[in-house]
């Protein structure tokens, strides 16, 4: 039991129901013109085949915010590799945050998106992030640093994604 419970405590699970098609949800996650419109607003580039690269870039807003605080912000925020891409149902990738020296030194984590069509034109998106060996990234993704300007993590990103797909507008309007 103790052996099992240690790594599980480092996994974060998020689920959101969105009035949109699975394809629309898939596109919003994997296409740069969509990733720029919600959450952290950075450009996300996916080479959607096993072994293909994922690159999440910092947005201009992130760079400006960093510069204002005297913190250099790199161009590449997140790097990763695709493990499985089954459009529009499942995406499994590795995920490593380069934004901050505190996260850049951490391990590659494993991120899974599961997209399921439900009756009534609703799609269920479940995000599972296995964050073993990445406590700093885990804190940022849980929204612990939001008041310091690090964004609200996955729940903030998914809430914004839902708002964008359902109303055509993200939370920032």
């Amino acid at each position: 039991m103790t052996v099992n419970s240690a790594p599980q405590a480092t996994t974060q699970v998020y689920r959101v129901y969105i009035k949109a098609t699975p394809q629309a949800v898939w596109d919003a996650i994997t296409r740069p013109e969509w990733t720029e419109r919600y959450g952290y607003g950075g450009r996300g580039e996916y080479d959607l085949r096993p072994g293909g690269q994922y690159r999440g870039y910092t947005s201009d807003a992130m760079k400006q915010a960093g510069a204002a605080q005297g913190i250099p912000v790199p161009d590449l925020a997140i790097e990763g590799e695709i493990i499985e891409a089954d459009a529009p149902r499942k995406l499994v990738q590795t995920w490593h945050m380069l934004m901050d020296p505190g996260t850049a030194g951490e391990k590659f984590t494993r991120l899974t998106y599961e997209i399921e069509a439900m009756p009534g034109g609703v799609t269920r998106l479940t995000l599972t992030h296995e964050l073993d060996g990445a406590p700093n990234a885990a804190g940022i993704l849980a929204g612990q640093w939001e008041s310091q300007g690090a964004g609200g993590g996955w729940s903030w990103v998914l809430s914004d994604l839902k708002s964008l797909l359902e109303t055509g507008q993200g939370l920032r309007g």
Binding site: A9, V13, S155
Partner: protein, 110 residues
């Protein structure tokens, strides 16, 4: 099976001390079994299971299978949505009310 989680379900699920207690325990340590969670409460397993089911129907808890065990994870997204939908709105209202006051005061300056 509830498909679109509405705010009512979330508020109803949160309007209970035991269920808030369970969410707080999951916030401290996520991915726990029913047995593990039940050990923290003076309540039958059946009672705890019932509360967990209400939390799951409100999408505040998501379960995942790990081998033969079922693990319960806290899902903060519905609370975030309430925050974004309700709380932000009133905070913005306060901010704009203050700005109106500022404009009003500045206009009155001689």
């Amino acid at each position: 099976m509830v498909l679109v989680i509405d705010d009512d379900l979330v508020f109803k699920a949160l309007a209970d001390e035991t269920r808030r207690f369970l969410l707080d325990r999951l916030f401290e340590k996520d991915g726990r079994t029913l047995t593990d969670l039940a050990s923290e409460l003076e309540m039958t397993r059946f009672g705890v299971m019932k509360h967990l089911r209400i939390l799951e129907n409100a999408n505040l808890v998501v379960t995942r299978r790990s081998g033969r065990t079922k693990l319960h994870f806290l899902n903060p997204v519905p609370i975030r949505q309430i925050h974004d939908r309700w709380i932000n709105k009133y905070q913005e209202h306060h901010v704009s009310a203050l700005l109106d006051l500022k404009h009003q005061l500045e206009k009155e300056k001689p």
